[in-house]
């Protein structure tokens, strides 16, 4: 890998690049899914290639190839420089980067069991057993399960002397029960929707989830939803389960703090952000108990946003995003930090694979745990709807107005959890919502959730992000608009 990277850097410099960095990546996937006690997807894949990013004539160029001969790599590097020179046609000013030290290092996330060494028949058996448990419940029309594993080996080399080798092992799994009755389709997922839970861990994550042990429960809940009461419409208190709060953080904090969005670089596709730069250290983003960090360090946990160095060679950092309710930080890169006068990058540049340009991506954007025991939070609540497991999510292109619905809800009345509620939904304006937070559960209820499917960029890149969250309570929230006639 080192030779390939060196050939690319040398060629770029020779062709006139003032800066170049290379990512050689070897990505291995295993994907398994089952449906109604049959194997659906059963596939493995590998992809090895190299991408080079250069600055030439003061502008950016990027090219990638999987032709890993000396000739193929040199042609790729030369093309990146040609592209940069073409970019300079529309240049307004030279690209400027904040300084960064050079590093020579190697890192691998810790894991106990290599999922690629676990026999595939054992992995299939777990999913089929979970399918069987779900299908025992009368009324279940589709029972599904999935596992996915990723091993990403990458070498980052820059013209300023860095050479960083990292290996990341990622695992994920989940199950889903679906039921059709009358004119209604209901769904329950475990441990989370849209693929379950995903972390930077080995097969030990899958074993800890106990998919089979939870299958019957979620299937029963799924069928019970058909006869549950419809979520009422109105204004009131909600309590969000930790996985739903994780997605709320993702959409209404994680994306608006991306500095490339703020600076207009994503205006055509992902959109911009209401968090314009004059709001930094001035905007009251949330209530005083809301503290949010962007933390890529391993000590935060093995999240999908955990690494040792980002994909432009900046060490993993913890950036305070919201401090006692005050907006205190963006997700930045070497270029965007320079654009707003900061002196260092936040270290959040990542790319999906070797054929993609690194861009600002969420790391682990997590809300710090509060002080409440979950039972105390329920006891302290007179009238609310408890909502769990995301079903749909949508937010405007500046990240102000959102609407979420969850798979299941329960009434909370006079300090007790009561009857089940179907089709729960809530909506609001980001800052009003976070300022209405009056209780967050403690570390005992805090989970670092993995969102494996965050899309951004053109060409679009799918990236995994981490979101630590505990159940929390919000007051005076608009409820039930999604189903209002």
């Amino acid at each position: 890998m080192q030779d390939w990277a060196n050939w690319a850097i040398e060629t770029a410099k020779r062709r006139g690049a003032s800066y170049a960095d290379v990512r050689v990546m070897d990505v291995r996937h295993r994907d398994i899914s089952t449906k109604n006690s049959e194997v659906g997807t059963l596939a493995e894949s590998e992809s090895l290639g190299l991408g080079i990013r250069v600055i030439a004539s003061g502008a950016w160029g990027f090219a990638s190839t999987d032709r890993l001969t000396r000739e193929g790599i040199q042609a790729c590097a030369a093309e990146a420089v040609s592209i940069a020179k073409a970019s300079a046609l529309a240049k307004r000013e030279n690209v400027a980067l904040v300084p960064e030290k050079s590093y020579v290092d190697t890192w691998q996330n810790p894991f106990v069991k290599d999922p690629f060494r676990i026999p595939v028949e054992r992995q299939i058996e777990v999913l089929l057993d979970a399918n069987k448990e779900m299908r025992r419940v009368k009324g279940i029309t589709v029972a599904e399960g999935s596992m996915s594993f990723r091993r990403i080996e990458q070498l980052f080399v820059s013209s300023s002397g860095s050479s960083i080798h990292q290996i990341k092992m990622q695992s994920g799994a989940g199950i889903v029960a679906t039921s059709f009755a009358g004119s209604e389709i209901q769904k329950r997922s475990y441990p989370n929707s849209f693929g379950g839970q995903h972390m930077l861990q080995g097969y030990e994550l899958i074993e800890s989830l106990d998919l089979v042990g939870n299958a019957q429960r979620i299937a029963e809940e799924c069928v019970a939803l058909h006869s549950a009461a419809q979520c009422p419409e109105g204004q009131g208190t909600i309590i969000l389960g930790s996985s739903q709060l994780g997605l709320q953080i993702h959409e209404s904090i994680g994306h608006p703090i991306e500095l490339d969005r703020v600076l207009g670089m994503e205006a055509n596709f992902a959109g911009m952000s209401f968090l314009t730069t004059e709001k930094l250290r001035h905007l009251k983003y949330g209530s005083d108990i809301v503290n949010v960090v962007a933390d890529a360090r391993l000590e935060h946990g093995p999240g999908l946003g955990t690494f040792a160095y980002d994909d432009e060679g900046v060490p993993a950092k913890c950036t305070p995003i919201i401090t006692n309710g005050l907006f205190t930080g963006y997700l930045s890169s070497r270029e965007t930090a320079s654009a707003i006068g900061e002196n260092q990058s936040g270290g959040t540049m990542r790319c999906e694979s070797w054929n993609r340009l690194p861009m600002i991506r969420m790391t682990n954007i997590s809300i710090n745990p509060g002080t409440w025991r979950y039972d105390d939070l329920i006891s302290d609540t007179d009238d609310a709807i408890l909502m769990e497991t995301n079903r749909s999510w949508s937010i405007d292109d500046k990240r102000y107005h959102f609407q979420f619905s969850t798979e299941i809800g329960w009434e909370v009345k006079d300090g007790k959890i009561g009857r089940m509620i179907k089709n729960p939904s809530y909506s609001g304006i980001t800052t009003e919502f976070w300022n209405s937070c009056d209780a967050i559960c403690s570390r005992d209820y805090w989970t670092l959730w993995g969102t494996p499917n965050c899309g951004k960029g053109q060409p679009q890149q799918v990236m995994g992000t981490g979101h630590g969250a505990a159940p929390a309570r919000f007051r005076n929230i608009k409820i039930g608009v999604a189903f209002a006639k």
Partner: protein, 454 residues
Amino acid sequence: MTKKTKSAATSVSLAELRRIAERVLKISDADETEVDVGAETDALTRFANNTIHQHVAEQTLGISVRAVVDGRTARATTNKTDDESLRQAVVSAVSLARNQPKNPDLLPMLRAQKYQRVSRFYPKTAATSAYDRAKAVTRVCKMAEKSNQTAAGIFSSGEAATVMANSRGLFAQYQQTKSEFSITILETNSSGWAKSNSPDISTIDPDELADAASRKADQSREPKEIKPGHYTTILPPAAVLDLVGFLFYDFAGTAVLDKRSCWTGRLGKRILGDNITIWDDVYHSLQTGQPYDGEGMPRQKVLLVDRGTVNNLVYSRATAKKMKAKATGHGFLLPNEYGEAPMNLVFAGGDKSIDEMIRTTERGIMVTRLWYIREVDPYEKILTGMTRDGTFLIENGKIAGGIRNFRFNQSVVEMLSNVEMLSPSVRAAGEESFEMVVPAMKVRDFNFSEVTKF
């Protein structure tokens, strides 16, 4: 076009792909083997703040092997073409296949098929260089600057070639070029958007698209807030596409079999307006894509909705057998749990222009683009999402000015029963769905539920 730099990369020929496929078939000792070999070159010039800020090119090659062993099947994919890597891909597919229960639905691989020829490769698109795209982008950025506006968008070009072969003698190949231009024009408190996408780059006019987006931004300045509610709404083709795209999987036989299609219990009944007719037709002159499915089955033109009645679904071979229907050539690559889907939707259009739709509206909303659409209710097909980049109030048959963006919660089934006017169908490109041939629509009682702050 001037060529100061080479195009994205030298393309891999179909003959080279075929040779790789033949090597895989020779290596494999599985009961049956299928191989898909695909090569793509893609390049994209991305601009924002009236300058190019990202500019990329890639070339990729993928070899995907499906092996069948004793009634079981699995897939392995690699991008390495040396003998050992190809052998390893076969070994992986065989090993994965062996270590699972038998699949009772697995059918023998197809024998050789005949395919209708489609021609969607344009040398001019393939030859487009970074410099060509940068020149056009520089021009639209200067246009924006001159109007005190800010441009952001992309201009992309590329080509794809693919070969499919199996050990029972099937062989299929397809080659296509692609290009796309999308632009957002920003002002202080307004924006406009336009997009076009075609295999033939000469049909894309960046200046005209920039001009259209610029006019939208100009017309939607100082947006007023109006109350949410049910409004007569004019949806341009891109907005129609992004909504109706959510229906595509509902037309899959597997979705109906699993009872998760919104057509479950509604087949053969008049559910939509009698002005709604939908086909899946890969051969339509404005459509793109290969004329065969994930097993090499030739795609058929299927009349899905006939004047408001959902009459037909699409079927892979296995689903067709289960549902006692005929395979339509819409299956995904095997193995998978989803079965099939129509990927080339074509809506019958009407004869009204958007100007006429506006002229005949006393009070209503004109949308430019929809955003972040998600399904709220899978059976009633309620979708939520936002308007974006130019939303207008219509009063007394005229555009009265820009308004703040709305959130909608709207059943698509209901919407397609409320269509008052249709324009001729065009090839539209949105962000939430794949490209389709759809008309603009004037729809009554579209449900805008809330309003945002801009």
